[in-house]
């Protein structure tokens, strides 16, 4: 029998919107609940994000083995590696699944991209799109595939909204209209504010409220 597919989430968003930092806040929360997570991080020309997360989450905090943070330098447009031809990511996911069949979740981070980023469903079961308030409060209203079709919209850096004149209530109102009944969460990835809600959505909608594999096995 083929190995059971480990649930996978994709995280996409513009350059500097806080994808990596969201993962750095998310993994400790999930780990605390007992969920073991692997990370695949796409960057365009470097592996800087993967190296940073490995150092932070694996080497320094011991939340995961070092080989569970893998960096891929994709070159070219980042979305091509998670949508048009996700084969390189799929091969890394499958390698991770084979080596660590007891993982509960694999997180795939896209390289920073534009508002039409989406993940191929062949690669990710659940797609989180993250934007930040610094683009202005018009951002959700202007739509785009990521904002409209993602399973969860995360709006980051709410702590600086007042400095750049972004009205969070406008962003919330527009997110509701554009996304209908699909969820959105306001976060501050620097302090971790709101990230617990992101974790709760993942446990509910991706893990189906199942207990961690390490717990279920005992």
């Amino acid at each position: 029998m083929a190995l059971a597919r480990i649930p996978r989430i994709g995280i996409g968003g513009p350059v500097g919107s806080g994808k990596t930092m969201l993962i750095e806040q998310l993994v400790p929360i999930l780990k605390k609940e007992g969920y073991d997570v692997g990370i695949i991080s796409n960057d365009v020309v470097s592996r800087e994000d993967a190296d940073r997360m490995r150092k932070n989450l694996a080497t320094e905090r011991g939340l995961m083995p070092e080989d569970l943070v893998i960096g891929i330098a994709t070159g070219g447009c980042p979305h091509t590696a998670v949508r048009e031809d996700p084969s390189i990511n799929i091969s890394v996911v499958e390698e991770m699944e084979a080596k660590h069949p007891n993982l509960d979740l694999i997180i795939i981070e896209s390289g920073g991209d534009n508002i039409t980023t989406t993940f191929s469903p062949a690669l990710a079961d659940y797609f989180i799109y993250i934007i930040d308030v610094s683009g202005g409060d018009k951002y959700p209203r202007k739509r785009g595939l990521g904002i409209e079709t993602s399973d969860l919209l995360v709006i980051n850096k709410i702590d600086i909204a007042s400095f750049i004149g972004a009205d969070l209530s406008i962003m919330e109102r527009d997110a509701k209209v554009v996304r209908k009944d699909k969820p959105y969460v306001f976060v501050n990835s620097k302090t971790g504010q709101g990230v617990k809600k992101v974790a709760e959505q993942i446990v509910k909608d991706v893990l189906f409220d199942a207990p961690p594999k390490s717990v279920a096995a005992n």
Partner: protein, 198 residues
Amino acid sequence: MLTVTTILGNIKNNPDLNQKYKESLNKNSLETITIQRSETEKVRMRKVSDKKTDVGFILPSRTHLRDGDVAYLDDTKMIIIKLSPELVAVLNIKKNIHHHRDDGDGSKSDHNHDHHDHNHDHHDHNHEFTNVAIKVGHTIGNLHRPLKISGTDIIFPIQAPDEINLFLRLLSGLKDYVDIRAETLIFEPDQGFDIHAH
């Protein structure tokens, strides 16, 4: 949570399921789960039916959900997948394409019309139709749209009604040959033409 690991078939092409579908409608035991086209290739997702049944899908890789798929069936209920209607452009190449050519000033004709036999005319008509069709296909393909051909309608998704103007502009050289309008309908691309927007 009800876990669904396989699709039982589709009410549109399975007579038994279609019969059950009609019975369920009568018994008021039919439930629907409405999904977006972007979710049709998802093999793991959690959804709530219109009657609040909590459903977790864990489907085999490469499952492609279609409108009318049966997710669950027992004596008490039937759950089917509904695809949400979306905004599309419907483009039609005019049937009287041949006349448009003849209605012109004839300056494009480099040989004498009077000597055309019927077959030659027919050949020219096909040639011209092919010419327009390829240009239309090229333009839509350049914008990486998935495609459905339904009768003489060429259908592809758009994100805003404004995009009709974009296509009118892109196809301005062919304006005598094509009609294009926006519509909202259930869009299921033809197999092999389900490309993703770039």
